[in-house]
């Protein structure tokens, strides 16, 4: 098992290096100039000298290879550099937003998992009945409903029925749990519902497949209680694809909730991403892309490890 874990971890480094190089080149292909955006886009009169001076200060006058070497050297020291827009360390810019995004991703995952697993199992066990149809309608509606739209509906509901608006600024959970949850519960519900729809369908189909297996039939034949057959024998074996879906969705939530964050005015990684791209803040874009890529890589490694834990055949292979 240890060798398996080490092998997976060693593969992470070249993957991240390749991603970093690709990101570095891609962001420089986008047309636009951070210096102009910062000094000129507001309509102010700024001389050519000031613009050039700012380019030099940001290191944008250096050849591409020198900029790349600087960045990679920084990465080797775990230094993502400083944001070209704000001058603050990229790691700090991301950390401030990551707290919110991570909490939202976890809350949405809790919502999704607590809906998806019971509903998916219930629908599979009651296949073809009204219960199955009800769950299918619920999950198809979830797939068809964009989370930002559901978020707007939730907000409108709160505004028109309770004449109440969730807080517009983030309060950390440890500082004031009530303020924190009253802001984040609504986007978590909106995002969690769509997320649960994917996982519900996956759980149902995986369960249906497993329930047809011989060992499940044997369990029934042995006269085991339904609860034991379904939960202990069937569900555990049906979980592999479900865990994959949940893991990948979780990684997506770290930086992918751009529109939902706009709707609820959330200061998350998604909004930071959009702002960084709009401002051509190369160092911040690079840091963020690396974060998202790392999240995917890490989730994949964790999933591989979880597979090995759930299914011994994988770790012995």
């Amino acid at each position: 098992m240890l060798r398996y874990v080490l092998a997976r971890l060693v593969l992470v480094l070249p993957t991240l290096w390749a991603v970093a190089t690709l990101i570095f080149l891609l962001v420089r292909v986008i047309p636009g100039d951070i210096v102009e955006l910062r000094l000129v886009s507001g309509g102010a009169y700024v001389t050519r000298e000031v613009i050039q001076q700012e380019r030099v200060r940001l290191g944008l006058d250096k050849p591409l290879w020198a900029q790349y070497a600087d960045w990679i050297a920084g990465l080797a020291r775990l230094d993502l550099g400083t944001s070209m827009w704000t001058g603050a360390p990229v790691s700090r810019e991301i950390a401030i937003r990551l707290e919110l995004s991570l909490q939202l991703a976890i809350m949405a995952t809790v919502v999704a998992v607590s809906l998806a697993i019971p509903l998916g199992v219930w629908a599979a066990v009651r296949r073809g009945t009204w219960a199955d149809h009800l769950v299918q309608v619920f999950s198809v509606a979830g797939l068809a409903t964009p989370s930002f739209w559901l978020g707007i509906l939730l907000l409108l509901f709160l505004l028109s029925v309770f004449r109440w608006l969730p807080p517009m600024t983030f309060t950390p959970l440890w500082q004031d749990p009530v303020a924190n949850l009253s802001q984040l519960i609504w986007p978590a519900l909106a995002v969690g519902y769509r997320y649960s729809a994917v996982a519900t369908r996956m759980t149902r189909s995986a369960m249906l497949e497993v329930l047809r297996e011989d060992y499940v039939r044997t369990a029934w034949a042995k006269g085991l209680a339904e609860r034991a057959v379904v939960l202990r024998h069937a569900l555990r074996n049906a979980l592999l694809p479900v865990v994959t879906v949940i893991g990948l969705e979780f990684a997506f939530l770290i930086g992918g909730l751009v529109v939902t964050e706009q709707v609820f005015n959330l200061n998350g990684v998604g909004k930071l991403f959009v702002d960084a791209i709009a401002r051509r803040d190369y160092t911040l874009i690079q840091g963020l892309m690396l974060l998202v890529a790392s999240a995917y890589v890490l989730v994949n490694v964790l999933l591989d490890l979880l597979y090995a834990r759930l299914d011994p055949r994988i770790r012995y292979a």
């Binding site: 886009s41 507001g42 309509g43 001058g87 608006l165 005015n265």
Partner: protein
């Protein structure tokens, strides 16, 4: 008889008050009450400050949250624009030849760290703006090219010598970005203020949570007795217009100082009823139409003139002011401002006349004469900011179709849009200007030759125009200066039609009535919380 006269006097007084209220542009404002101390003001800022240094930034996103931590040398009176009033300068004198400004600096002013302010701090701050050291960016350096030297001969005196007299030097000094910093800090690290805050202003820095909010608290040792009225303020960073309106409606913020579109205003007013008031003012911002003077057929004066003749600005003003904050029709200077072109003169300029049918006939004639075929296709490059750029672009496309042209509206993200305009990769662009005070030096610099101002994207060189710009800038006689400005205007907008304004903007600021001591002015850069108070 005596009673009747008394009633007439009262009636006249009431009429005067009504006129003054109407003139202030305030709709539904209540009778003045004595200022009340206490409370914290929450307001919305639609963007975040890139750095904390006003000297290097150009955005209102720096002014609204951070300016309350600082004082200026002199400033625009927040309740009486465009009057310049003392701030850290107690008084000043100007020499007969207009070349020497001597400022007497207030004594007893303390920085937030407890140290005393002296003229050395003023000199160091102005030096950083006007003569920035190597590696330090100053966005407004070019505005002060007439300054020869700054000296601090005594702890209470600052002397500024000019190379040539400038008609509005004092107003330029009152730039809301000219924050006074501490000399010792600047000496140690001239870039310290990019990431830190420490001034003499009415509010001390409390907290900044990126992407969320900025907070200030009252500075108890503030030099002005009884100010500020507020205990503190909280600037909330909310970029979405829908979320801004919602935050205002539900009292999470009392105001957004930059300005709302009419639909947002109506939504807020409808919801809040008599708890809201709306202040409106002309705005020192406008939309510019920029033909590429180096690209065919726009290198032909007749084509550029035809484009401006085809635009029905007066009709557009009526229509667009219903859905956007564009509205007033004006020339190079803000309509309603001290340098505005009178309507009788304005309507003589190509494209600004009242008879749109005649203007469009003339436009068609000019296009024919220039050999531009019916249905001629060209692109109109615009930025992807919904308000007011996209409605402006749609309107222009419609106007030009009415003279037989076939423009294509290309909407780009701001980055590529600016890159294309700079590189000359466009046929016609939609640009804008936004300034902090009414002054030909500030509003006309956009139109001087492209080789002198890199932000003139229209790509032309006109030394006569450059000369007029220079001439008006040094002219101290207001009437003579106005004549030169009119001459400049005719040449840019009409005679050569290099580039032209579509419409100027109208500031619409709905806010909770309990926000008092605030008066909307023509610039969203001039917001000042020193006199603001909350009635409940």
């Amino acid at each position: 008889m005596h009673v009747r006269r008394r009633l007439q006097q009262l009636g006249a007084a009431a009429l005067l008050v009504a006129v003054l209220v109407a003139a202030s542009g305030t709709v539904g404002s209540s009778a003045p009450a004595p200022p009340r101390r206490g409370g914290s003001l929450s307001f919305i800022v639609s963007a975040e400050p890139p750095s904390f240094d006003g000297h290097r930034e150009t955005t209102f996103a720096v002014i609204h949250p951070i300016r309350p931590h600082y004082n200026l040398l002199v400033k625009f009176d927040p309740l009486n624009y465009p009057k310049v009033v003392p701030d850290l300068a107690e008084s000043w004198t100007v020499s007969q030849d207009g070349l020497t400004y001597t400022f007497r600096i207030r004594s007893g002013v303390r920085f937030h760290d407890g140290s005393l302010l002296t003229s050395r701090d003023i000199k160091a701050s102005l030096d950083k703006i006007i003569f920035p050291p190597q590696g330090v960016a100053s966005a407004r350096q070019a505005m002060y090219e007439m300054v020869e030297s700054i000296s601090a001969p005594s702890p209470n005196t600052v002397v500024i010598r000019l190379k040539w007299p400038s008609a509005t030097f004092l107003e330029k000094l009152a730039s809301p970005f000219n924050w006074i910093y501490k000399a010792d800090i600047l000496e140690r690290d001239p870039r310290w203020y990019e990431r830190n805050v420490m001034g003499t202003g009415p509010f001390r820095f409390k907290e900044y949570v990126r992407g969320s909010h900025w907070e200030g608290v009252r500075f108890e040792n503030y030099w002005k007795p009884g100010r500020p009225y507020l205990d503190g303020y909280r600037a909330l960073f909310i970029s979405s217009p829908a979320a801004q309106a919602a935050a205002l409606k539900f009292g999470q913020a009392l105001v957004e100082f930059r300005g709302f579109a009419p639909a947002q205003r109506d939504e807020v007013v409808q919801f809040l009823g008599d708890r809201a008031t709306v202040q409106e003012s002309g705005w020192l911002c406008n939309i510019l139409v920029v033909p590429n003077n180096q690209r065919k057929p726009f290198d032909d004066f007749r084509v550029r003139r035809a484009l401006t003749l085809a635009i029905d600005r007066w009709g557009g003003s009526r229509a667009l002011s219903q859905i956007t904050f564009m509205g007033p029709v004006g020339g190079v200077m803000r309509p309603g401002g001290p340098f505005a072109t009178p309507e009788a003169e304005l309507t003589k300029l190509a494209g600004f006349g009242r008879d749109i049918n005649a203007a469009r006939q003339e436009a068609r004639r000019l296009l024919r004469e220039a050999g531009v075929p019916e249905g001629f296709e060209f692109t109109v490059k615009n930025r992807n900011i919904p308000m007011p750029y996209i409605p402006a672009g749609i309107f222009l496309v419609d106007q030009w179709r009415q003279v037989g042209l076939n423009p294509r509206h290309v909407i780009q993200e701001t980055g590529p849009y600016l890159a294309d305009l700079r590189a000359g990769n466009y046929d016609v662009g939609i640009d804008f200007t936004c300034d902090f005070f009414d002054d030909p030096d500030v509003q006309l610099v956009k139109f001087v030759s492209s080789d002198r101002n890199p932000l003139n994207y229209a790509r032309y060189t006109d030394r006569l125009l450059d000369g007029l710009f220079r001439q008006q800038s040094r002219e101290r006689d207001l009437q003579r200066r106005l004549q030169i400005v009119r001459q400049f205007e005719r040449r840019v907008l009409s005679d050569r039609a290099y580039q032209y304004h579509l419409l100027w903007w109208q500031r619409i600021v709905p806010h909770w009535k309990k926000l008092q001591g605030y008066r909307v002015g023509p610039s969203h850069y001039l917001e000042d919380l020193e006199e603001v108070w909350l009635s409940e």
